[in-house]
Symmetry: C2
């Protein structure tokens, strides 16, 4: 726990010495514990005999799913059959050594497992128990099965994507899982700060729907203030013009002037300053009304040079501009390279795995890959021994697992 | 700071006693400090004489932007002209009392203001300084102006949205700002945990692009493993069928069976169990190949009843299903109501403001609105007095602000 010293050769990480028992699988839960692990916590991933289903999903090399590898770096793996009394007994012993337990079961599964709040606090006084679910821990939909697509649909998030032709469109990535996992990490770490002051444990939860709802930004407040539903505007900005994708000589370029000042900089950079006096474009409201005309003027001006030219010129002029990159483009981008957002990680026995880097940068104690993603049950023996199990008992636990799986 | 006691009538909040000096404006930064404020920190928002530009944006009532109100609840406001020596002197005194400083200036602006890391640590030993920027603190694009649309485009995030007809499509909400703000909060709170152990300060930063990049999920790992670019699939799932929007008697319904087990439950609930033996649909891979045919079968079955009927039946059967809700539908939803995700908050002088609720739930010390969003400079006098300014000095500071604004 917190008393363990940092190795002498590097600064103490943010969550170093915090032990997390991780009962999650698939995506939202493992993304939460990935954050905790990247921040330095010891995350012990409890896997069923057959392993986290993600081990069998996604592409990879040398018997390793790179999806699994990316979401489970910096974690340890203990293989435990929680359907067996022996497995549950070992889990309870492990929880007694933990600071945090994270689950993404449906609400009340932990209680059915005999791991209600009171029991957890008895096992480990001051424990933080964090849960991620679909719709919230209580309420009429609490027991519904959940999935990212449904959360995007139910939360209103999808209704803001797409355009008049497409109707509501899902965001491509499973954004509700990723947001809920991040909120669960934030809530957990905040509860650790409180525990540092009070010694008290905390019950933290978040849901796929609540997480996305909290991201309504000005769409939410404007709808609540006026009762008028926002329109999905594709790549246009509903309230700003010019804004969106334009055509340079060799392809599309994204330009986003956020206010009149930046709009004037755009006109100057494009040699269009005479449009400042054009009555049709005298205000943002008028430009929204004459969007097609102002866009045509800008496209005419852009057509003379390449995207690369304009991106340099516009950014130097203070106008946000960039290309629409594929993943290939983004991952080869010099800035992305500089930020180390794609990393090579050695996985002994599985070769070098490429994965995304750390979005949060710390100067004093940067995140790092201390451990590659574990093989299934790689740490079972070490962790059970630490809990007082002898080799024979560990063998028996493993045997009973093999018969039930 | 941390020694201040919690009021006797409620449990101590997670970040109670933490003082945050908030130099941010607009969206990403204020979303970070909103999280810190909702978790109980004392957030002192430093506003220029003319105020955060968001005060003048979005709809509202009685002279208050509800967008501003939602993003600035639980904060205090100090009006300070940082272009004047007196304003900067007051800021330095205030930072000397702070645990955290947050900015969303372009990289190196803090240094130009004389607030480099060494100076900040001298002013307040152990201070955590958190920055949010567009592309990262260093690297070839570090000085570029940034904006959500550009971050969505450059990061590859947009390339995963939309479908073959639309091409890359922005996600409607300014997701890069919201994600970066949340990561900045997570990094800040993690640094507070570390400071609790070591007493040391930390320099935390994140960027709009790095935040979105970290959310590539399986698209990222599959691309990195294979070199094959993912396709944007609209509301279909590239790797799963059936999945997406289907037609009940009175409109569309979202259905997302994640694996064969759930697919069989769907067939049973729709009285289509005979399709289990249909060779065209014998595996997920075959169903992806025959997506149109399996979707037609499902649509035929759904057409007999309403969405409400099927949502009950399918969820009871363990199949994730829901409607695509507008914001009006989502905000009126009984589950959303139960989760208190839309709240009424009294703003003296501005009436009752509706705003989104708290996505992270704590059982022991729940988030609450302690303070409505402040009027511009509402806390200037109280905070400056606490710093030792007398009434005459405060009057002079205010006068100099009025002449420079």
């Amino acid at each position: 726990m917190l008393s363990s010293p940092a190795p002498a050769n590097r600064p103490r990480q943010q969550l170093e010495g915090i032990r997390v028992v991780d009962l999650t699988r698939i995506l939202a839960g493992p993304f939460c514990t990935l954050h905790l692990a990247d921040l330095g916590a010891e995350v012990i991933k409890i896997e069923p005999p057959e392993g986290d289903p993600i081990r069998a999903q996604g592409h990879g090399h040398a018997g390793l799913s790179w999806y699994f590898a990316a979401f489970n770096r910096n974690k340890r793996s203990v293989r435990l059959d929680l359907r067996s009394p022996g497995g549950m007994a070992a889990l309870r012993k492990l929880i007694a050594t933990a600071d945090v337990v994270v689950d993404n079961f449906r609400p009340d599964v932990m209680e059915h497992m005999g791991l209600d709040w009171t029991t957890l606090q008895t096992l480990s006084p001051g424990l933080i128990h964090t849960s991620i679910n679909g719709f919230g821990e209580t309420g009429p939909y609490a027991q519904r099965p959940s999935f990212d697509f449904i959360a995007q649909a139910m939360s209103g998030f999808m209704s803001l994507n797409g355009n008049a032709q497409t109707g509501p469109l899902r965001t491509g990535v499973p954004i509700s899982d990723l947001v809920a996992g991040t909120y669960a990490a934030l809530g957990t770490v905040a509860a650790l700060v409180r525990r540092g002051q009070t010694g008290e444990g905390e019950r933290v939860s978040t849901s796929l729907v609540d997480g996305l709802m909290s991201m309504g930004a000005f769409f939410a407040s404007n709808f609540l203030a006026t009762g008028e539903l926002p329109q999905a505007n594709g790549n246009d900005h509903g309230l700003v013009a010019p804004y969106g994708l334009f055509s340079a000589a060799d392809g599309e370029i994204a330009i986003a002037p956020s206010n009149d000042g930046v709009y004037f900089k755009l006109l100057k950079a494009l040699n269009l300053s005479h449009l400042k006096d054009d009555a049709r474009f005298a205000s943002n409201a008028l430009r929204v009304q004459h969007r097609a005309e102002i866009n045509a003027q800008i496209n005419d001006a852009l057509r003379s040079h390449s995207r690369a030219h304009w991106i340099d010129v516009l950014n130097a002029a203070g106008v946000p501009a960039g290309t629409v990159q594929t993943l290939a483009g983004a991952y080869a981008d010099p800035q992305v390279h500089h930020q180390q957002m794609v990393m090579d990680v050695e996985h002994p026995g599985h070769g070098t795995v490429k994965m995304l880097g750390f979005p949060i940068k710390f100067t004093q104690s940067p995140c790092e890959v201390r451990l590659p993603a574990p093989d299934l049950g790689a740490d079972t023996q070490a962790v059970l021994r630490e809990l007082g199990y002898d080799d024979e008992q560990i063998r028996q636990l493993n045997t009973s697992q093999e018969t039930t799986s």
